[in-house]
């Protein structure tokens, strides 16, 4: 499947801000079953930029705006080919116990090494309540893909999808207590549960192709950035994606941008500025299928 993705962010401030510096993580990372065919980004007003690798798998663009600023527009477009099949549980999958032992035995600390994804991280602390709630799906003898899918489905079933319940800074424990939130909250909760069971779990940010209801046209700009979870399922299976918002494994409808330990590692835009002011945010995301791969 080939998609054209466009992601336009407009930030307006109610006053003037100075020396704004942003980390932009919107360049899709290299990933085995997807290929970026073309991409470009524009920042208005102009900015001094440079790019480097991120700490995890989150390519980074730094933008610095020396001139005072009251509105900022970041426009990202890319064309990507996704050749991924949604994995299904199989009797041959390693068990939860086997994956836990295997993860501790991998002697690497590169960006995707399982050792990086075993421990609590700033946005995914080891919350005992969340761990206990998730544990029933992660019993030692269960196949790893089946266990991950069962947990993703239970989160989708039990939690209310409610964009008003949380924002990007809400701690996972609050979303867990409210049993409501959005993709980010569900991903963090699932990651905490998985790490609590000793499994390496990563946070993925990206996009999802939305399928309009039958008979209705696709609404332009109605899509949003999405987030899900990957579990390292042993050397043979590697990283497998699970989407707790939709209760499924990750297949051809998901477009991966970045992988990190939690939201803080992959946040599409963050940064610092001088000036105390309120901001208004407008985000328009389009994921348009170009042709079947």
């Amino acid at each position: 499947m080939i998609y054209d993705v466009s992601h336009k962010t407009t930030i307006s401030y109610d006053g003037i801000v100075r020396l704004a510096q942003f980390n932009i993580r919107m360049r899709p990372a290299d990933w085995p079953d997807q290929q970026v065919l073309s991409q470009d980004m524009s920042i208005t007003p102009g900015a001094a930029t440079f790019s480097r690798e991120g700490a995890y798998l989150a390519p980074l663009t730094r933008a610095r705006m020396d001139a005072p600023l009251s509105e900022l527009v970041i426009s990202k477009r890319f064309r990507v080919k996704v050749e991924r099949k949604a994995p299904e549980p199989s009797p041959g999958d390693p068990t939860v116990d086997q994956v836990r032992d295997a993860a501790l035995a991998v002697q690497r600390i590169d960006a995707l090494a399982p050792a990086n994804y075993l421990y609590p991280s700033p946005r995914a602390p080891l919350d005992a309540g969340i761990i206990a709630w998730c544990a029933s799906d992660l019993v030692g003898g269960a196949g790893i893909v089946a266990a991950g899918l069962a947990l993703a489905r239970r989160i989708q079933k039990v939690f209310d999808y409610d964009p008003k319940a949380t924002d990007a800074d809400t701690p996972a424990s609050e979303a867990f207590a409210a049993k409501a939130g959005v993709c980010q909250d569900f991903a963090h909760i699932m990651i905490i549960g998985l790490r609590g069971a000793g499994l390496p779990a990563a946070y993925v940010s990206g996009y999802l192709r939305t399928i309009p209801p039958a008979g209705k046209p696709r609404l332009v700009g109605a899509d949003a950035t999405h987030a899900w979870v990957m579990i390292w399922c042993g050397e043979a299976l590697g990283w497998v994606g699970f989407d707790p918002t939709n209760g499924c494994t990750v297949g051809p409808d998901h477009i991966l941008t970045a992988v990190g330990r939690d939201y803080a590692d992959v946040s599409p835009i963050d940064g610092v500025l001088l000036g105390r002011t309120l901001q208004k945010l407008k985000v328009a995301v389009d994921v348009i299928p170009v042709e079947a791969a």
């Binding site: 962010t9 930030i11 100075r18 704004a20 510096q21 942003f22 980390n23 991120g54 700490a55 995890y56 730094r62 836990r100 032992d101 993860a103 501790l104 002697q107 690497r108 600390i109 960006a111 090494a113 050792a115 990086n116 075993l118 421990y119 700033p122 080891l126 005992a128 761990i131 964009p163 924002d167 990007a168 800074d169 959005v182 993709c183 980010q184 609590g196 069971a197 000793g198 999802l208 899509d223 949003a224 950035t225 999405h226 987030a227 918002t245 803080a264 946040s267 599409p268 835009i269 963050d270 940064g271 610092v272 500025l273 001088l274 000036g275 105390r276 901001q279 945010l281 985000v283 995301v285």
Partner: protein, 745 residues
């Protein structure tokens, strides 16, 4: 009581610590570089990534200056058999070297020459070597070295200020610094000045919000970019803290054999990491002989809700929780052998008694990059009698560690080699934050003096021979003045709206906690500001500031006049001490500028309140009291009180140190002497304003000093104060995290 260590034992410790430092450097270099130790299983990957101090962005980044570690500390314990063991390594921001210095200074004072007679080795040469090492690490030949502090709310801030003063490094905070073109600068009154080396006491997480934790508001955006570009040495390097994890003790013996091809001269406490199958089995089998601890600092595993615990003292539910935790996340736990500590004598107030102790030893790289061990350190003594090393928490007492040398010790101090010290008359550039603090210190001390004078006058305590009895009206004006300064407003009227006695208002103006202008609030403000620049204040000045305000003792209740006088004396003495003994550099100028600005505003307000066009003799007399000009007036004018004569003496006489003319002449002098950035010879905004206000005062006549004129004058002075702030201080340079700019589905 100092802990005394003999020359042979110390030589052994010294060799062992240097060996350890070399090993730590080699391992931390490998983790951030080749990673051969990880690939070959000498060091498991998951024993590294669990550390809160592991930062993947540091991988592949060679540390500018060549080393990750430049100043470290090691905690040691001595078993009852006399054998030493390493308890912990401190590789990020080791605290305590300043305490060691203070302990030593305290003891030297108490014992006189005893230290020299006993050949106690001195600490100064160690710090000199460390300073050489930092200076030599920079690429520029005359580098500027800063001590980066989290700020005055940090618990070891006093130690940091002490070290900065001792080493002669400017004490800087994140907001003092700025990055331009991948170089680090400190904001000073002379503009940006390059910083080459930072000795940091700020955790890596907070160093640079763009590189580590975006919510940090005490860091410097771009600092990591300067580091990456090789333009900034940071000691110790970000990421070095990965060596502090308790879990690493399990691997140190094997790493020493592999990396250094030798055994550790002083071993760690024997440690088993539960993330390894065989070691986990050992821990489970010998649980009762071990202490179970979190494998990583700052992370409390689910199975150890209360932290480290002796295996044999686990309750049944605690044991079950531990077993459940170990089954799913074994990597979070280590088992360690139980080591008892030997004791050292300690004086408990009545007699000497034995106390178990641990000792912290400090190491630094010298100018040649070689490790030097500080001869001495500090010991922490436990409160309880029987203590096992691994469970010893923060001791209540600390003691000096003295190392005795075989040979007489030549005195060294940080003054350096007298023959080779070039004479200097400038103590380096003044950071903007320090200038800001000194300015406000001057203003607050002066404000305390003025407020206490007004309170005293309101209480009727002024003693002048023929001063008339106060009328109600002058008293009321004094109350108005206090209330307009934010002192006593809560005691103006009682609950029913009835006017309260002036006495109650004065009490509130003195001690009121809800009064922004009470003497208590001013004294608290003075202390807060002074704390932020402790590295620049003499110990005597700091002691006076620390003692400024004292709450009323029981026998002082009702003795308001006496307490007001004492406070007035303290504020006056503080102003005098600063004025008398501060070196006449830019720091003193900002401090004195603050005093003068504050005094001109206060004098103007006093004249505006008491020398109005229809002022009574009583009002004028009160003004002379406030300005301390009674005696001069009586000597100069044999007649009674005349409005314009009083105005002229108090406000316009250039020889009267309270007058506006006097302040303006000095203010103009200070502002003219401040550094300028413009190169076209035109005056900068502060100087332009100062000239205008000064002209206003030089040309006015006493008869025209009405409230309108004085209000205009006060407004201009405040403009001048703001202009000085905008030009020389840090206003608005504190970064805020940009709000989250993502919508998630």
């Amino acid at each position: 009581m100092p802990l005394v260590i003999g020359p042979d034992e110390w030589r052994h410790i010294e060799a062992a610590m240097i060996q350890r430092a070399e090993l730590l450097e080699a391992v931390v270099t490998d983790i951030h570089g080749e990673q051969s130790l990880i690939r070959d299983s000498g060091l498991p990957a998951a024993a590294i990534t669990g550390s809160q101090s592991f930062w993947r962005q540091m991988i592949g980044v060679p540390p500018p200056g060549g080393y990750h570690l430049r100043f470290i500390a090691v905690d040691l314990g001595r078993g009852p058999d006399g054998a030493w063991r390493v308890l912990a390594d401190h590789c990020t921001t080791p605290a305590g070297a300043g305490y060691a210095l203070e302990n030593r200074i305290a003891l030297s004072r108490a014992t006189g020459d005893l230290y020299a007679e006993r050949n106690v080795m001195r600490l100064a040469s160690f710090f000199a070597a460390f300073r050489d090492g930092l200076a030599g690490s920079a690429t520029r030949s005359a580098p500027r070295i800063g001590l980066l502090t989290p700020g005055r709310y940090n618990q070891s801030y006093a130690e940091q200020a002490h070290l900065a003063r001792y080493l002669g490094f400017p004490l800087v905070e994140g907001a003092d610094l700025d990055v331009r073109d991948d170089k680090l600068f400190v904001r000073t009154i002379e503009g940006l000045k390059r910083i080459d080396v930072l000795w940091r006491r700020l955790d890596t997480r907070f160093l640079d919000p763009l590189a580590f934790d975006v919510s940090s508001q005490i860091g410097t955006p771009g600092l990591f970019d300067a580091y990456l570009a090789g333009n900034l040495v940071v000691a110790n390097a970000p990421g070095a803290g990965v060596m502090e994890s308790p879990v690493l003790a399990a691997f140190m013996p094997a790493l020493a054999r592999r990396v250094l091809d030798t055994e550790l001269l002083i071993p760690n406490i024997a440690t088993w990491w539960c993330g390894q199958t065989r070691e986990r089995a050992t821990v489970l089998k010998r649980l009762d002989e071990m202490v179970i601890e979190p494998a990583f600092n700052g992370v409390r595993p689910v199975g150890l809700p209360d932290g480290a615990i002796l295996g044999q003292s686990l309750s049944e539910p605690a044991r079950e929780a531990l077993m459940a935790g170990l089954a799913v996340r074994p990597e979070d736990y280590v088992g360690r052998e139980v080591v008892r500590l030997s004791t050292t004598p300690s004086f408990n107030g009545q007699r000497l008694e034995p106390r178990p102790f641990t000792m912290r030893v400090f190491l630094a790289r010298d100018g040649a990059g070689a490790w030097q061990v500080m001869p001495g350190g500090f010991a922490r003594l436990s409160n309880s009698g029987d203590v096992r090393a691994a469970l010893m928490g923060e001791g209540a007492f600390s003691a000096d560690v003295c190392v005795i040398s075989d040979a007489p010790v030549e005195p060294t101090t940080l003054l350096g080699d007298p023959a080779n010290t070039p004479v200097r008359r400038q103590s380096g550039v003044l950071p903007s934050r320090a200038a800001d603090s000194l300015f406000w210190l001057g203003r607050y001390v002066e404000r305390g003096k003025n407020t206490s004078r007004v309170i005293r006058a309101a209480l009727g305590g002024s003693v002048v021979a023929d001063s008339t009895v106060r009328t109600r009206s002058a008293e009321q004006l004094l109350a108005d003045l206090l209330v307009s300064w934010g002192a006593g407003s809560t005691a103006r009227e009682d609950a029913k709206g009835k006017k309260m006695p002036v006495y109650a208002l004065c009490e509130a103006a003195l001690d009121g906690r809800d009064e922004p202008g009470s003497l208590w609030a001013i004294a608290t403000g003075v202390r807060g500001i002074a704390q932020g620049i402790r590295d620049r204040l003499s110990p005597d000045l700091w002691r006076m500031i620390d003692d400024l305000y004292k709450p009323a003792r029981d026998d002082e209740k009702g003795a308001l006049i006496g307490r007001t006088l004492r406070l007035m004396d303290r504020f006056t003495a503080l102003g005098g001490l600063a004025a008398e003994y501060m070196v006449r550099g830019p720091g003193w100028r900002f401090h004195d500028l603050g005093r003068r600005v504050e005094r001109s505003i206060a004098t103007s307000r006093m004249v505006r309140t008491f020398a109005t066009n229809n002022a009574t003799a009583d009002h004028l007399s009160t003004l002379l009291d406030l300005a301390d000009n009674q005696v001069t007036y009586r000597a100069r004018y044999q007649t009674g009180l005349a409005r314009d004569a009083v105005r002229d003496l108090v406000a316009l006489d250039p020889l009267n140190p309270r007058s506006l003319s006097f302040q303006m002449e000095i203010i103009l002098g200070h502002v003219s002497a401040l550094p300028v950035l413009r190169d076209d010879g035109m005056p900068e905004e502060p100087l332009e304003l100062a000239r205008r206000v000064s002209a206003m005062i030089t040309t006015v006549q006493a008869a025209d000093l009405d409230p309108d004129f004085l209000l205009g004058f006060e407004a201009r002075i405040m403009q001048l104060s703001d202009a000085v702030g905008r030009r020389y201080f840090l206003q608005g340079s504190v970064v805020a995290p940009a709000k989250s700019a993502t919508q998630l589905a």
